[in-house]
Assembly symmetry: C2
Homo-oligomer: 107 residues x 2
Amino acid sequence: MASFGKYIKTEREKKGWSQTEFGALIKINTPAISRIENDKKRLSVAKLELLAELFKTDYIQLKDRYFADKFAKEAYEYKCSEKVHALAETQSSYIREINSKQGKMKF
Amino acid sequence: MASFGKYIKTEREKKGWSQTEFGALIKINTPAISRIENDKKRLSVAKLELLAELFKTDYIQLKDRYFADKFAKEAYEYKCSEKVHALAETQSSYIREINSKQGKMKF
DNA sequence: GTATTTTTGCTATAATTGGGTAAAATTAAA
DNA sequence: TTTAATTTTACCCAATTATAGCAAAAATAC
């Protein structure tokens, strides 16, 4: 699976939009689009909903893809072991569990 | 598996250190230790190596634990699906693959 | 060779973060 | 219960990180 940036590039091209046209739709200027597509900069999370609409794709899946890419890059940057995502999975289950029992999150 | 903050608290107590004593060793003041143990703030990544020494534990494993906690919290905060970490795993493999083929990372 | 599209450099500003001080609250000990 | 030690809260700040924009260079298409 390609990076999130490459995914955006591919989908944008499928739609036949230039970076400038696409940028106008999602309200980001052309240089920023370029940097996003080349994974030099990250699309802000706030734009994901609009992005899903523009690409006519499922928002939740898009968000998962976005964060998966983010986590993978961070894990790579900090030289985490291959086990880190499995551990994160365990940790997520734990968080879900304690938050279904008691009410709130405290972090 | 408990949060990273609770892990620190547990290990600190095993050593019989007060937050202040532990803080002196790791060079962070007492209130900050409290916030870290209660998952209100995050220990800076730069302290992980020293932390591993103090706790006499493996640095790589500690780092994995730290990032697993970070990823899990972020996934929870943004309401990612349970699939996100598995996706991240796939993404990590992809990054490792392209970086063993070509030389550098560009992100 | 010109026009369109994409990328790079640089800059300004907003947001986040890790940690600091002082003081309040809690817990333990006398 | 008073005092002493420990932990937590409220508020603040410096430094990094992110966002976003313009101008101009580079690349691609026509």
